[in-house]
């Protein structure tokens, strides 16, 4: 299951928890990624909507794919407002092999950007503005426009 934070992720505690929980798993390599909100375009924060049932399904698919390769996947994401210089996304892969872990992390985050059911908004002047131009239609989009 994806760990959902209301607001920013408590990154220090989360990384400690992941490392502590897995260091006895004899994995050898832990590769992690943390995404922090950059101060740009005059935003105060980013804000996120998540559709949890589908996010968890999508995530469990990835978890199983990685488990088949002997690797363990963990992920956290924020819902609601995440101010600049705080973090909205973190994931980690534990694996016996570093190279495999790095490759999988890249593929996972790539698919995350395209297919995880999460919607992003810029918060400017207290208003929530959908980040339409940075968003990607999910696989299979346009189905209901057909026929």
């Amino acid at each position: 299951m994806v760990l959902i934070y209301r607001g920013p992720i408590e990154v220090e505690a989360l990384l400690s928890r992941w490392y502590g929980a897995e260091r006895n798993g004899n994995y050898g390599a832990m590769v992690s990624f943390v995404g922090t909100v950059r101060e740009e375009g005059g935003i105060e924060a980013l804000s996120f909507d998540i559709y949890r049932p589908l996010l968890d399904k999508w995530f469990e698919g990835w978890r199983e794919r990685l488990a088949e390769k002997g690797a363990l996947l963990a992920m956290a994401h924020s819902e609601g407002d995440v101010p600049v210089h705080t973090s909205s996304f973190a994931c980690a892969i534990f694996s016996p092999k570093r190279r495999l872990a790095l490759e999988m992390l890249d593929a996972f985050v790539e698919d995350f950007k395209a297919n995880a059911p999460i919607w992003k908004y810029d918060v400017i002047g207290g208003k929530r503005i959908y980040a339409a131009e940075r968003s990607t239609p999910m696989a299979g989009s346009g189905l209901l426009a057909k026929g």
């Binding site: 909507d49 999460i118 959908y130 968003s135 209901l144």
Partner: protein, 73 residues
Amino acid sequence: MVKVEFLGPIGKSPVEVDASTLADVAEILRRDPEVARWLEQSAVAVNDKMVETLDVKLKSGDRVSLLPPVCGG
């Protein structure tokens, strides 16, 4: 009745429609100008399972979700 929900930025409350296939739902939604502009770029799930064809049969109590373009991270 089939429940249709509009996720994320579509920002519209769920509606109940009378439909026996996803094609029926498509036809109904195309008539709503507030929703129609999202159809081209939205993916669709039925009962939280992504679908890729309009032939999907629906029964009363089913839930159709519209998923507009995403951007996590």
